[in-house]
């Protein structure tokens, strides 16, 4: 019963935060509603028993990534965006497309998925087991990901740094 209530409440908060992200016109409001989405998703992960993923979600997403977003919004001083009217072609093609896509998703969800429940308090995603998987079965992807993150850091530094003023004496 508690599981059902928690799932419904935080799922509703999650979807409501996502809708609020789209409705708000100022980027800061959107960023804060994205934080709400991340935090409620962490609770959903806990309900699924994924303890470690929930902690990583809060620390990396709601912490680091969103601080980055808020920082850039402050830096760019981005104001309220002005809306333009959508095109007629998008309206004519979009509504049947959305209906067809929704029917397809509903059919796949109903026909093709199995069911599995998890008891409240059961935590199969214990950090020890995740760490074992990460450093035994997935050691090569882990190392490749570290290289990827290193390249991303260097790319971000190069892109965001101010271009150096021309200094003829420094050139060899």
């Amino acid at each position: 019963m508690l599981h059902l209530v928690l799932f419904l409440v935080f799922g509703a908060i999650c979807v409501a935060g996502a809708i609020n992200l789209l409705v708000q016109s100022h980027p800061i409001s959107s960023a804060l509603s994205l934080v709400v989405v991340m935090a409620s998703l962490a609770v959903e992960y806990l309900l699924l028993g994924a303890e470690f993923v929930a902690a990583v979600q809060v620390i990396v997403y709601a912490g680091a990534v969103m601080v980055l977003f808020v920082f850039v919004i402050m830096l760019l001083n981005a104001g309220v965006e002005e809306r333009t009217k959508g095109s007629r072609v998008a309206l004519i093609l979009g509504i049947p497309g959305v209906l067809a896509g929704g029917l397809l998703v509903a059919w796949v969800l109903i026909e093709r998925t199995g069911t599995a429940t998890v008891g409240l308090g059961a935590l199969p995603g214990f950090p020890k087991t995740i760490g074992n998987l990460l450093f035994h079965d997935f050691l090569l992807p882990f190392e490749v990901t570290s290289v990827l993150v290193l390249i991303a850091i260097m790319g971000a530094v190069v892109l965001a740094s101010r271009p150096e003023p021309k200094n003829p004496e420094k050139e060899s």
């Binding site: 809708i19 994205l34 998703l41 992960y45 850039v72 760019l76 993150v149």
Partner: protein, 101 residues
Amino acid sequence: MVPITTLHYLVVAAALFVLGVIGVLTRRNVVIVLMSIELILNAVNLNLVAFSRLWGLHGQVFAIFVITDAAAEAAVGLGILIAFFRNKETVNVDEVDLLKW
């Protein structure tokens, strides 16, 4: 009382994914487009973790990889955005036409 199954989590994830796609397609501010991409990646993560109830813990490890890639993508995307803003003084996607011939 209805037990909460994988299907319920998939419905939430599908809703998040659709909202993210709507954000990518309709908003003009690049920062909000990047946030919508984060929303899509979060929907994928919820799917992976929900399916890890059925098929074992590999889904959770993959969700961690997706989180790492999303952080890298956000860093590079926002760096590109800062470099672009320095040149053109705008953050609207429809004014990004530096590569247009």
